[in-house]
Symmetry: C2
C-alpha cells in the first residue's frame, strides 16, 4: 500500500495541511481558519477535519497515512506533545494536543515539533538549504522564530526548546520583549517590532513621512516602514537599518556558536527584498571578526508558506523510518 | 597488548601531557615549557619529547599508544591539522603540526582539536559534566574559550570552528576585541579584560583602592580586582559585576541556542570563588525570560588544569574506537 505523509502547520490564524508522497512530493494542500479563540476541542476538530479533507483531496484514505508531522508555536513540552505557553493559542496551552489529535484520527503517530523548527526542516529538505549540512533559519513575523540544522539534523535540545534565537539578548537592558527579557533580537527586528519602533519614534515626535500613514490608517505595518525607507524617508531608513544590524549581529553570534554554512531568512518581512538582505550582509561584514575569512552564505527562503507543511511531513517521514 | 591513550594540552606557556589507561584513568603526567617564541621544529620536538617521557614514566612504550589527542589554540584548520591564527603561538601558524608530530612519534594517529573544546570534553567525561548529555563550557583566562556538548557529543562545526562563544557580541559597537570585533563577551569578561577594564577606569581618573596596586606593581591582575571587590572597593565591585553580568547574558543566549542542562565555568578566574559564581547566577535570574521556568545548572569546573589532558585522551580513545 502506498504510504503518504501529512504535514500540519498550526498557526494562530490558519491551519495549513499538506499531503506528500514518500519522496515528499506535494499531492494536495488544504487549509482552514484555526479559530484560536475557541475551546481546544473546536480547534483540534478543525485540524482533524482539514487533515482528512487533504487526504481525500489527494485521492487516498487515512489508512495510507503512517505518520503525521505537526508544527506548533512554542514554548512547549515537545516530548509530551503539549503546548506550554504560546501567547497566540491561549486555550491550547497545557492541553495534550498530540494525544487528542491522534485519538481523533484513529491512533495515528503524530510527531510534534516547534513551528519554526519545522519550517527550518522544510527549507533544509526542499528549499534554500538543499545540499547543505549546517544551516540556521530565521522567520521574521510577529516574533522571530528560528531553527538550527547541525550535521544534517535538526537541533531540538533535550527538552525541545533549543533554537529560540529570537530571544538571545543583543542589547542588554534594551527594549522589553514579550518573553519578559530586555533587549532580545525579537524586540527589535521582528516584523511587528520593526513597525512598533517606527510607531514609538513618531509618538516621540520624530519627523517622518510615516506619520501621515499612522494618522490615516491608525497603525503602521512593517511593509509601510520598508516602503517609506525605499522612498527615502530618513527615519524609516534608520529603523530598517537597525533591524538589519540586529539580524546581522544575530548571524555573527550564531556563526560563532554552531558554525552554519548557510543562514536563511523567511517570513513576511522578506517581502521587503534587497533593501533587507543587502543591509544584513553589509552589517554582517561590518561586525564579523577579521581573524579569518568567513564564507557563510546569507539568503532568503525558497519555499514561501509551504516550508511548514513540507518540514512537518519530512519529520513524519523521518520518524516513520 | 595494553592500550594507553595520550592527551596533550598545548598552551602558549606549557606543554602538558597525560598518559591514561583505556578507562581514562591517569597513569602519569609530564610537562615542559612550550618555548612559543622558538621555531616550529623546536616546539614540536618539545611536544614529542614530553609525550615519550610521559609514556616512559607510566612504564609503557610508544607501541602501546594507538592514538594521541592534541588540544591547541585556534582558530585552526582542524581537519587539516594546522593552526591558522593563534595569537600566542605565532610561529606555529600555518605549520602542519599534526603531520610533523605524527612523523616524529612514528606515524601515530593524532586527533587535533581546539583547546577549549578539549577541556570541555574533559569536564564532560570526568568532571562537572559527568552524567549530563547537554552542556556548555567556558574557560576564563586571557580570552574566553568555550565548548558545547549536544546529546553527548562535542559540537565542532563543519570546519571545526563552532563554540567560539567568547566572540559572540553582547554589547554592539562596544569595546574592541583582539579578534577585530567590537563588543565581544571576551572583550569584557575574560580574566585579562576584567583587569584591563579596571586599569582603564583608573587611567580615566576613577577613585579606587586598586590605584595603589597599579602604581606599586605597574599592573593590575584579575585577582587584584576580585580581592579589592571582596574588600569593598566600589569600582572593583562595579567591574566584577559587569564581568558577571556579561557572563550571565552569555548563559541566557546559549541556553536559548542549544538548551544545555549544565553550564560550567573554568579557568584561572574561577579562583575568585563565590563572588563570581553567585553573581553570575544573580544576573542570569535577572536577564532570563519568564515564559517558562529554567532549570539549567551553572557551576564551576571540577578538574582544574587536568581537564585539557583528560579531554584530549578521551578524544584519542573515541577516535580509536
Amino acid at each position: 500500500m502506498s504510504k503518504i505523509f501529512i504535514g500540519v502547520d498550526l498557526g494562530a490564524t490558519y491551519i495549513k495541511v499538506g499531503c506528500f508522497d514518500s519522496n515528499l512530493k506535494l499531492l494536495a494542500k488544504t487549509s482552514a481558519p484555526t479559530q484560536a479563540e475557541k475551546e481546544p476541542d473546536v480547534i483540534i476538530d478543525n485540524i482533524a477535519r482539514v487533515v482528512v479533507q487533504c487526504v481525500t483531496k489527494a485521492d487516498f484514505s487515512m489508512t495510507n497515512v503512517p505518520a503525521i508531522g505537526l508544527g506548533c508555536p512554542g514554548p512547549a513540552k515537545y516530548k509530551k506533545g503539549i503546548i506550554e505557553a504560546a501567547p497566540n493559542l491561549p486555550t491550547l496551552n497545557n492541553v495534550p494536543i498530540r494525544q487528542i489529535l491522534s485519538d481523533r484520527l484513529g491512533a495515528k503517530t503524530i510527531v510534534f515539533e516547534n513551528d519554526a523548527n519545522v519550517a527550518c526542516l522544510g527549507e533544509f529538505t526542499a528549499g534554500a538549504g538543499k545540499g547543505v549540512e549546517d544551516m540556521v533559519f530565521f522567520t521574521l513575523g510577529t516574533g522571530i522564530g528560528s531553527g538550527i540544522i547541525i550535521n544534517g539534523k535538526l537541533l531540538t535540545g533535550p527538552a525541545g526548546n533549543a533554537a529560540e534565537l529570537g530571544h538571545t539578548i543583543i542589547y542588554p537592558n534594551g527594549r522589553l520583549c514579550t518573553c519578559g527579557q530586555k533587549g532580545c533580537a525579537e524586540a527589535y527586528a521582528s516584523a511587528a517590532n520593526t513597525a512598533k519602533r517606527a510607531t514609538d519614534a513618531i509618538e516621540a515626535g520624530e519627523k517622518t513621512s510615516l506619520k501621515k500613514t499612522l494618522v490615516e490608517k491608525g497603525r503602521i505595518t512593517c511593509k509601510d516602514v520598508y516602503d517609506h525607507s525605499k522612498a527615502g524617508d530618513e527615519l524609516a531608513k534608520k529603523i530598517t537599518d537597525e533591524t538589519a544590524e540586529t539580524l546581522a549581529i544575530l548571524c555573527v553570534n550564531v556563526l560563532h556558536t554552531t558554525e552554519p554554512r548557510l543562514i536563511v531568512f523567511a517570513g513576511g518581512m522578506i517581502a521587503a527584498g534587497d533593501i533587507l538582505l543587502s543591509r544584513i550582509k553589509y552589517f554582517f561584514d561590518k561586525h564579523i571578526w577579521n581573524l579569518k575569512e568567513e564564507s557563510v552564505k546569507i539568503c532568503f527562503a525558497a519555499l514561501g508558506e509551504d516550508a511548514g507543511i513540507i518540514g512537518a511531513a519530512a519529520l513524519a517521514k523521518a520518524n516513520f523510518k
